[in-house]
């Protein structure tokens, strides 16, 4: 439990310069004065309205109380009055607050109606929460979905204080969600294991990701830029380590991006038919391991939430049983079925990596074709 090494390191490593401290909800308007989302700006307005009404009531109540504390103290020789009822006053302070509440409920209701207005979306994205990463799937009418996982990109060294923390510490991912500006985007939000919650404060979208259910939310972002958020529903050990990063780009850039994503998928498929060199497989495997396996299996394969990979009987035993664990997962444990999450090349690369890194010098090379034939049985 105690982590003495990290503690010692913390004392030695300076923090990165702290980003600006913010004390209020995002306004929904960018620094340049452009509205980011109309809904966000409206929610901010509502929040400030209720806040100022509360402040006004608070000043009144606390003002009277403070005056009373000052004026009606025994040390000033006052005689206590004995009144203890006044029907008129009591009715007044029941009825007046009621009308103040009605006045608050009106704007609150109209904003809520907008939150629920999911119609006429131009782009739909399926967001799935996993322990501990997000999967984004762009639903395409022609069935050519783009789909990828988005993992925390902050290094373990930064988290364990042996490296200087970057500006976007814990709020950066390997593959961000990319959406076009000024387009109504509908998010269909669900989860594959436990409940998560997808939240980006600056665009004011938060919705729980619940296994077996699909929730809807929408946004229309008017200002290009990068917006960051986090999972906000406790989802296990690494709940604090599954950020959301959204890049809002022009329609042209978005088209280029989708084209390149589709191209990469094609390239992966081609790669799967080729033999890769050991070095290529190891390099690719290391990337995948660090993004998808390290949280549970440790930076040095020493294990943690998952078993140790270094010296593991499975990672050093038969290739098929190793592939079995990675492709199908281990039911009832945190070990997921990565066969459905990673491409065949990637499974091949990470398997090769685990069999040859951390001192597991098996010398085995697993190619995509091996994965394909394993899957086909």
């Amino acid at each position: 439990m105690l982590n003495a090494r990290a503690l010692a390191a913390a004392a030695l490593t300076p923090l990165a310069a702290n980003a600006q401290n913010q004390i209020n909800m995002p306004t929904g308007v960018s620094d340049a004065g452009v509205v980011i989302t109309e809904l966000g700006a409206e929610i901010y307005g509502l929040h400030m309205l209720i806040f100022w009404i509360s402040v006004a009531i608070g000043v009144g109540v606390f003002g009277i109380m403070l005056y009373s504390i000052y004026a009606h103290r025994k040390s000033r020789g006052v005689k206590p009055s004995q009144f203890h009822e006044h029907t008129g006053v009591e009715i007044a302070w029941t009825v007046i607050p009621f009308f103040i509440l009605v006045a608050m409920a009106v704007p609150a209701t109209s904003t809520l109606l907008e939150v629920y207005d999911n119609d006429d979306a131009e782009l739909s994205i399926l967001v799935t929460g996993y322990q501990w990463k997000w999967k984004y799937e762009y639903l395409d009418a022609d069935g050519e979905n783009i789909s990828f996982f988005s993992n925390l990109a902050t290094s373990q060294e930064q988290i364990y204080n042996t490296d200087v923390k970057g500006e976007n510490y814990l709020l950066e991912v390997d593959q961000p969600l990319v959406i076009p500006v000024d387009t109504k985007v509908r998010f269909l939000i669900t989860a594959s294991d436990v409940i998560h919650s997808w939240w980006v404060p600056e665009i004011a979208v938060k919705r729980d990701a619940i296994p077996g259910f699909i929730n809807e939310a929408w946004t229309r972002v008017l200002a290009e830029g990068v917006y960051r958020g986090q999972c906000t529903e406790l989802c296990g050990s690494y709940h604090g380590f599954m950020p959301v990063e959204v890049h809002v780009v022009s329609q042209d850039e978005f088209d280029d991006w989708t084209a390149s994503k589709r191209g990469a998928a094609v390239a992966d498929a081609t790669l799967a038919t080729q033999e890769l060199s050991v070095d290529d497989l190891m390099a690719r495997g290391a990337d995948i391991y660090n993004a998808s396996c390290l949280a549970c299996h440790g930076a040095k394969g020493e294990g943690g939430l998952g078993n140790a990979i270094a010296g593991s009987a499975i990672a050093m035993g038969g290739v098929d049983s190793h592939l079995n664990v990675i492709v199908n997962g281990v039911a009832g444990t945190a070990m997921q079925a990565f066969g459905a999450q990673l491409s065949d090349v990637d499974v091949a690369a990470v398997t090769t990596y685990q069999r040859n890194a951390f001192g597991n010098n098996t010398g085995d090379v697993v190619q995509a074709s091996d994965v394909v034939s394993y899957k086909e049985g």
């Binding site: 913010q22 109380m65 294991d193 906000t232 050990s237």
Partner: protein
């Protein structure tokens, strides 16, 4: 029944076998204070880890065990039993009864608590660690994905529920049957009223909690799928059941606190409580509303619009009776002749900070804005304003107020005042900045955070250490008072205090009101 004039038995058997409401009250109070220190120690671990960004002290999984146990122990081990202890000590003395109506059951409802908490704490040593799914234990994190120790957690919750139900039945039976002649309902001190209503809430919702954990048990061990979507169940159902218990639970905690404040503020204002009847009605209204607002904890689960609107409007309505209470307290102070001994300081601290918590509660009730607040530190700040500055401050006020009556010895007033100011300042340094980080986007229950939250988190941790340390001062003051405090012999220790308990000697004999007192024309409030 035998001899009514015996004193307490000697040694351990006095405490094991006792059926005396004062002894049982004392045990509840000490037990809850021990739990308060344990839950507080867990909070210190949490704040130490959050002192700086990066992981320093503990691993993320252990951090989650700490947040979970901190919440469970504070709610079920510290706050709830402390108010039951207070009820045991005070209700018979306030209504002129010789003891609680069901004294043997009273013994049981206390003595099953320590084993339950021992079991809960022992999960820390089990394979897979203690429960790490938060005190709200949402399924399926608490079922399919829970550590094996969850079964012990379920058993512990069952025992706590049994204890609470027995305690509540006892309070209801006592208040309904044991009032001295002439002590009509509308003459009862407000503390008794708030506890009577609280007891009904407990009897209504503890079985619901028991149902929720039993369904979890079935899902985990007997192949059912109440909360598992894969088997045709519904994880959101869990949240509905949990909060159907959980929201009334919030009022179970705060209503007795309202009762305490309604006794203390008049005493030190030397003036009767303003609006006694409206206080009673407001308490009942809050209790009623507490049953129809539960889903305001779940605005982001994807409820239909109509449900969302219903729960928003109902929740906003709670501001009305709560406002009535605050206005009544302030008006009680108005044109009184106030002094500011420690109990009064804590009561005023309660009034100010609880009202701030009420305002943030009103903000949270606004569903569209809650999409931004939900599950952030803004919520953490809100509920610590109502739980700590609400329940714990009022409990502290109660101890300082009645301790001299119970023990016949005075605490050290200067030390009490220092305790108040250090607590008050420490509390605000801890929790006020959490509003800021929450609004700026920091989720709750995370062991590490982005750099823009660093300064306020450091501040928060420093405040927490100050607040935590000030409780040791409290402990010292109480022990010093009991062992060597200045003796007080007056029946009325506070000149403004009203009520039957102040007609008894200080300390009161082991058995009191064996002959019912006569109630004067002037009501006890």
């Amino acid at each position: 029944m035998g001899d009514h004039h015996h004193g307490p038995a000697k040694g351990l058997s006095r405490w094991l076998y006792t059926t005396n409401h004062k002894d049982i009250g004392t045990m509840y109070l000490w037990f809850s204070f021990a739990m308060f220190l344990l839950g507080g120690a867990f909070a210190m671990i949490i704040r130490a880890e959050l002192f700086q960004p990066g992981m320093q002290l503990v691993e993320p999984g252990f951090f989650n065990q700490m947040t979970t146990l901190h919440g469970l122990i504070m709610v079920f081990g510290a706050i709830m039993p402390s108010f039951v202890g207070l009820a045991n000590w005070l209700i018979p003395m306030m209504i002129g009864a010789p003891d609680m109506a069901l004294p043997r059951m009273n013994n049981w409802s206390f003595w099953i608590l320590p084993p339950a908490f021992l079991m809960l704490a022992s999960t820390l040593l089990m394979e897979g660690g203690a429960p790490a799914f938060g005190w709200t234990f949402y399924a399926p994190l608490s079922t399919t994905y829970a550590p094996p120790s969850v079964t012990f957690f379920i058993f512990a919750i069952h025992i706590l529920g049994v204890s609470s139900i027995m305690g509540s039945i006892n309070i209801i039976a006592t208040v309904m049957n044991m009032r001295a002649p002439g002590m009509s309902y509308m003459k009862m001190p407000l503390f008794v009223w708030t506890w009577l209503i609280t007891a009904f809430l407990l009897v209504a919702v503890m079985p619901v909690l028991a149902g929720a954990v039993t369904m979890m048990l079935m899902d985990i061990h007997f192949g059912t799928s109440f909360f598992s979507a894969a088997g045709g169940g519904d994880p959101v159902l869990f949240q509905h059941i949990f909060w159907f218990f959980g929201h009334p639970e919030v009022y179970i905690i705060i209503l007795p606190a309202f009762g305490v404040i309604s006794q203390i503020i008049p005493a030190f204002s030397r003036k009767p409580l303003f609006g006694y009847a409206s206080m009673v009605y407001a308490t009942a209204a809050i209790a009623f509303l507490s049953f129809i607002v539960w889903a305001h904890h779940m605005y982001t689960v994807g409820m239909p619009l109509a449900g969302e609107l219903f729960f928003m409007y109902a929740t906003m309505l709670i501001a009305v009776p709560t406002g009535v209470k605050v206005f009544n307290w302030v008006t009680t102070m108005w044109r009184g002749a106030m002094t500011f001994e420690t109990p009064m300081l804590f009561s005023i601290g309660f009034l100010v900070l609880f009202t701030i918590g009420g305002f943030t509660g009103l903000m949270l009730s606004i569903a569209p804005a809650d999409f931004q607040y939900h599950d952030t530190y803004f919520v953490v700040a809100h509920f610590h304003y109502v739980m700590v500055a609400g329940a714990v401050f009022s409990m502290t006020a109660a101890i300082y107020f009645w301790l001299p009556k119970w023990t016949g010895r005075m605490y050290n007033e200067t030390m009490g005042k220092v305790h108040f100011w250090v607590s008050f300042i420490g509390f605000n340094i801890t929790f006020f900045p959490q509003h800021f980080v929450g609004l700026a986007g920091m989720p709750r229950r995370i062991p590490d955070y982005a750099l823009q939250f660093a300064d306020f988190n450091m501040m928060s941790s420093i405040g927490a250490f100050i607040y935590g340390a000030s409780q040791l001062l409290f402990l010292y003051n109480v022990i010093a008072a009991i062992t060597s405090g200045k003796r007080v012999t007056d029946e009325k220790i506070w000149d403004g205090a009203e009520g039957l308990e102040w007609t008894l000697p200080s300390p009161p004999p082991y058995h009191t009101f064996e002959v019912p007192p006569t109630i004067e024309e002037q009501p006890a409030h």
